[in-house]
């Protein structure tokens, strides 16, 4: 039986049973990008508000 499984593995086609491209987890990256984006937009909005308030 073990021999049978081994030979099956050896002759199995190259495609693997799971999806071809595994989705890597980008959750942490996504959160960091959103935090950085919020910082940039926030500081821009603050400077623009200052500009308008002094107009």
């Amino acid at each position: 039986m073990a021999r049978e499984a081994l030979s099956k593995q050896e002759t199995a086609p190259k495609t693997k049973p799971h999806p071809p491209e595994e989705e890597s987890s980008l959750r942490g990256t996504f959160v960091s990008v959103l935090i950085l984006g919020a910082l940039i937009v926030g500081s821009w909005a603050a400077a623009f508000w200052l500009y308008l308030s002094r107009g």
Binding site: E23, S24, R54
Partner: protein
């Protein structure tokens, strides 16, 4: 090309932010008239004292509570050194230098520009609140740079 779902989201957010900034910039420049403080006006820097309107620096009424304020900058001061402005007046500053590059900044307002010999730089500000305002030089221009100032009294 394969893009991760999150990558699509943050790329779209970046694209939208770029569009938003450009729209704000366009509205500011073309609808609200925000421009760099230069009108491409020139003056002979060696003849500032003989050239109108800088031969008589000061406030000139040009409309209903609207004024031209022609000023000179020099080492180490501004002409005139004391200015009275009526409250609520819209003031168009026209400033040129008699010698080196100077600064022209009024803290607490958006008035902040360079003053270069040979050029007339302009900026407009409406003085809605009474009080005293300083005009300061923020370009290092020599040993008494820190003494260079003028005073605006709004009342």
């Amino acid at each position: 090309m394969h893009l991760h779902k999150y990558e699509k989201i943050w790329l779209s957010l970046g694209g939208l932010a770029l569009i938003a900034f450009l729209v704000v910039l366009g509205v500011n420049a073309f609808a609200m008239g925000s421009h760099p403080p230069s009108h491409m006006a020139y003056v002979d820097p060696t003849k500032v004292d003989q050239t109108a309107p800088f031969d008589k620096p000061g406030l000139v009424q040009i409309g209903d509570n609207e004024y031209d304020l022609n000023m000179t900058a020099f080492v180490f001061g501004y002409g005139p050194a004391q200015i009275e402005i009526p409250k609520g007046a819209k003031v168009h500053f026209n400033v040129t230098s008699k010698d080196v590059a100077h600064g022209f900044s009024i803290p607490g307002t958006n008035v902040n520009m360079m003053v270069l010999p040979g050029h007339v730089n302009s900026v407009t500000h409406t003085f809605d609140q009474a009080g005293e305002f300083l005009i300061l030089c923020n370009e290092y221009c020599g040993v008494a740079h820190h003494m260079m100032m003028s005073n605006i009294v709004v009342k």
